[in-house]
Amino acid sequence: MTTAPTHSTRISKRFAELRDAAELGIVAYVTTGDPTLDATLRYVRALAEAGADVIELGVPFSDPLADGPTIQRASERALKSGTTLHGVLDLVRRIRQSSQVPLVLFTYFNPVLQFGLEKFAVTAAETGVDGVLVTDLTPDESEDYRRILKARGLDTIFLAAPTSTDERLQKIAACSSGFLYLISRTGVTGAKDVLPDDLPALLRRAHSFTQLPIAVGFGISLPGHVSVLGGLADAAVVGSALVSDIEKSASVDAACTALRQRVHSLKDAARRGLSRREARL
């Protein structure tokens, strides 16, 4: 078992608060620049106001291997509007003028590599990023990356999968800080009706290897999903459902309303905790 992280970021503070309140956190993902950076700024404010505990800002990439069709389309829209990693970091600076919500960049490795690892870490820390999740960087290849990000006080978050062995979970946890991101099922991002039956067992297994908070993602969209995770996980990540709300909305205002509603309902479920039977409905 690894020891709890000693440094305290906005992320670990928020998870500590959630633990004290015995409340499941909500991690909200949006693709940055979908459809514009100005719109994303408003979405982030709406999500934070509605109670999102951590916000993941997706950095659009031309080849989003880990993403399903919803986030693929969002990435295409964001790239079409000219979004770059520079633009995403500028947006973080703007968000920080009015909000202290914990912020995680969710990105693929190549944009970070081309930006320059050192320069990226400096800029991200300076603009107010709290943590970074690089979907296609494995813990095995992450030594330089972790050293450079850690030096700037940035959390490094890695993905664990249902196929991860005990040995693997241990390694992923040892490389992670802030929280561990546990993928609920094999596959890519995208909303699904039901969570897999073996998820509780997977969560128990993951908890036995780390004291880090565990956020569960991939396939989570409904209050019912959130309520079954209470007591098992520390947070639920909702992504494609929010991106889909944005895609379906006729205006930025309408999208803000839809995002608020969804996060409210998820937060309600997280606080109240529906029974498992209700959750299946």
Binding site: F61, S62, D63, P64, L65, A66, G68, Q72, E76, L79, T84, L85, H86, Y108, F109, N110, P111, V112, L113, Q114, F115, D136, T138, D140, A161, T163, S164, T165, R168, T186, G187, V188
Partner: protein
């Protein structure tokens, strides 16, 4: 990652498992038709007045290209891992056909991802895959070509990883794929080396092969890596211009092709065509099999070490080379392989008459007849 570890473990065991190797060799011989001839191209040689040119006739293999070598190897691994389904991507359709063929032969289910632009230009291969019982899934994202097909195949694999093996067709992707695919293709160079020694009593001075991901090229080169005086030349797709988006030349900056830098795509660190923000570029080539923004990492290494040279030729040069080979040797080559010949033709003045070339004729041109008919 765990499925990659499993694959690596099973492959490392298979490499030294006499039973696996015997099955592999049996299928290569009796199903695919190995060994392939090393043919002296006498009329081409006479016509050009340059070096003596031999053709490694991978085009004569069952399904018409070298892709079947790797498909057989990985098909057997899928059986060994107890996975009843294989997933494959394809550009020109040759790897898709090879995978569908091996799947049918070994009793596996098969799904092939193919960009819709490639489905249109390689319609014959789409029909072949379907006849063989494979499901062909059109991919509409990105440039609708090989890169996008690989993305979709990888998404399928991570979703169905417990039941499916991803039969990646080139020396690309995460470890162990580049090494494993090279090993399955290295039979090309092993045969060619023995054949040229038998025919000419000496090693070749030059090897030529086209390079998309680079599996036929590494398959030919690998056995000669320690023969320091054997020059190796990989020919990429120069497309219709030097600008980003006009070509698929990753190692030809010396010819003015722009946009290639080290980067990470689909689990590989290599030279990648990309813009300044690290977004992967779209590519263009008349040849679907070479139309890909990254190059196999071992080729990137051979280029950096200066052990192999790389250069690109245009769509037009490839078309003309295909016509030349057809009329001098009676062989209609695949558009991919025609690039290798075009690269050789462009370097003719640099050859001495005593030079001895092996060119990998990696595939036959049946699939490209629509393009040839339209443009020649």
């Amino acid at each position: 990652m765990v499925p990659l570890f499993e694959l690596e473990r099973v492959y490392e065991l298979a490499k030294f498992d006499p039973a696996f190797q015997a099955d592999f060799e049996d299928l290569l011989k009796n199903f695919a038709g190995r060994p392939t001839p090393l043919q002296f191209a006498s009329r081409l040689t006479a016509n050009l007045g340059g070096p003596r040119i031999y053709l490694k006739r991978e085009d004569l293999l069952h399904t018409g290209a070298h892709k079947i070598n790797n498909a057989i190897g990985q098909g057997l691994l899928a059986l060994k891992m107890g996975k009843p389904r294989i997933i494959a991507e394809t550009g020109a359709g040759q790897h898709g056909v090879a995978s569908a063929t091996v799947a049918a032969h070994l009793g596996l289910q098969c799904t092939v991802y193919m960009g819709t632009e490639d489905m249109a230009r390689q319609a014959l291969n789409v029909a072949r895959m379907r006849m063989l019982g494979a499901e062909v899934m059109g991919v509409e994202s990105g440039s609708k070509t090989l890169k996008d097909a690989i993305n979709e195949a990888m998404r399928d694999w991570v979703t169905n990883v417990r039941s499916s093996h991803y039969l990646l067709g080139s020396v690309l992707g995460a470890h162990p794929y580049p090494t494993m695919v090279r090993d399955f293709q290295a039979v090309i160079g092993r045969e060619a080396r023995a054949q040229i020694l038998a025919a000419e009593k000496r090693l070749p001075t030059h090897l030529y092969a086209c390079v998309g991901g680079g599996s036929n090229a590494i398959g030919l080169f690998y056995e000669f890596l320690n023969d320091a005086h054997v020059k190796m030349v990989g020919i990429e797709a120069g497309g219709r211009g030097n600008g980003l988006g006009e070509h698929a030349a990753r190692l030809a900056a010396h010819q003015g092709f722009t946009g290639a830098r080290p980067g990470v795509l689909q689990g590989t660190y290599t030279y990648v065509l990309q813009n300044e923000d690290g977004q992967i570029a779209t590519t263009h080539s008349i040849s679907a099999g070479l139309d890909y923004p990254a190059i196999g990492p071992e080729h990137a290494w051979l280029a950096d070490q200066r052990r192999a040279d790389y250069a690109a030729v245009s769509d037009q040069a490839a078309l003309e080379a295909a016509q030349l080979l057809s009329r001098t040797e009676g062989i209609i080559p695949a558009l991919e392989s025609a690039h290798a010949l075009a690269g050789l033709l462009e370097r003719l003045p640099q050859f001495k008459p005593t030079d001895l070339v092996i060119m990998n004729l990696s595939g036959r041109g049946d699939k490209d007849m629509d393009t040839y008919k339209r443009l020649l």
